[in-house]
Amino acid sequence: MNWLSHISDFALLFFDATLWEVTGRSLFVSLMATLISMNLGLILARCLLQAHSRWAKFFDALLGAFVAIPAVVIGLLALLFFTSSIFKESQITLTIVPMMLAQALLLTPLAATLCLGALRTHFKLIGEELVSLGASNSAMFNVLIRECWPTLIATSILVLSRGIAEVGTVLIIGGNVEGRTQVLTTLIAEKARIGIYEQAIALSLILIIIALILSLVVRTLQKRFET
């Protein structure tokens, strides 16, 4: 292998506008999916926080199981949904909107499980005190959110990391259309499939750099929270 050629390929890639367009699209899709899933996750966490019924426990366990659901399954379900008769006239398929929504669907169980864990931890610490002070359920939830915001920020970054690194959902629902639905992971898959490994590796490095930055942010937040 000619390593000089690889390095020059990698360097040239940084001057390629398409790369930045694809990276930007990747970040946008995953950021929006994270935003949606965190909101849904917090709503679910609020419903389950003080619920003790059998149904609540069952739903709690179900959420945990859905965390491990394969991305391609969610992609397939989303594809069937968005190609159904409801969306026949809407031209929504092969745009980033269903990609965002499908990814949000994939990420919501993870977001809800992590948010619920964080809220429960803080509820155990200060829940009884808040009730004894006379806090209503909504006031208590708002306080808990405020008390554990560093954990929730770290959670959203973990959710974003999972979103930006996944390929199954966005490939199935988006179709990897150049200039429209192509994101970093689908582009890597395409380059690897047609044998342009140098570019696939270079793109992977960019993905790794993004993941490292996100991980660094999580660690910094956790350290700050601990102090």
Binding site: I126, E128, E129, S132, L133, G134, S136, V143, R146, E147
Partner: protein, 239 residues
């Protein structure tokens, strides 16, 4: 402040498969300080939480006097928890969730900080306070909302003797203003100094209820007498 009274009839509380309170039936007067005494695990703190509505009653009922309906009750827990905010913000929060407007809450919190000699710590994070300061902050938070009934769970447990006496004078002052105080204490000296009546629990059952003088002179119950002896009290001895 209004006088309040609380009547509880046949209160039974089951927790985790065991009965922790067995059919307690008493009427506490609307004024003065009622002390709850007993060994560890007797159910004193549990009864306080039941009275505050934190723990549901399995059987029986607690009936507050009509003039108390809608009045505020405050509980100072043995190990109080605070929000990850400053000392003053903790007070402001407690006031705001009890209906105080933001600017009024701030003024009231400053008054309470002055009273509890915490004004120098107003901007410190509450969780960095010493145990004694935490107790004073918890008391300030409980009193800030001007409760008609004050439920205190060992308020001087983590205080040095001087601070404990200062806290006792606060409790007396509050009681003098008409607030009903229900106090859990392991310090029988403190009970003797402060309480007007005593309710003694033993394994979730009431074994004595009556005036403080009678409790220390002739409780009329062998277990209560043994408890007093064990605590270094001889009957009729003033401590």
């Amino acid at each position: 402040m209004r006088a309040a009274s609380v009547q509880f009839s046949n209160i039974t509380v089951d927790l985790r498969g065991a009965t922790r309170l067995h059919g307690l039936t008493h009427t506490l007067s609307g004024t003065g300080i009622t002390a709850l005494v007993g060994s560890n695990g007797a159910g004193k703190s549990l009864l306080l939480k039941v009275l505050h509505g934190l723990i549901p009653i399995t059987r029986g009922q607690v009936r507050w006097a009509k003039d108390l309906a809608g009045e505020r009750r405050a509980l100072m827990r043995q190990q109080p928890d605070f929000l990850r905010r400053s000392v003053q913000e903790n007070l402001v929060f407690a006031l705001e969730i009890n209906g105080w407007k933001s600017n009024q809450a701030r003024v009231r919190s400053e008054e309470m900080l002055d009273w509890m000699q915490l004004e120098q710590s107003a901007n410190l994070m509450a969780n960095t306070l010493s145990p004694g300061e935490r107790s004073r902050l918890a008391m300030a938070r409980a009193l800030a909302i001007e409760p008609a009934v004050l439920l205190l769970d060992e308020p001087t447990a983590s205080l040095d003797p001087e601070s404990a006496l200062a806290m006792e004078s606060v409790i007396s002052f509050v009681q003098d203003r008409g607030t009903k105080v229900i106090l859990v204490s392991h310090s029988l000296g403190q009970v003797r100094r402060l309480a007007s009546d005593v309710l003694m629990l033993d394994q979730g059952q009431s074994i004595f209820f009556g005036p403080t003088d009678k409790f220390f002179s002739n409780p009329g119950n062998p277990r209560a007498s043994a408890f007093l002896h064990g605590a270094g009290f001889s009957l009729d001895e003033a401590v």
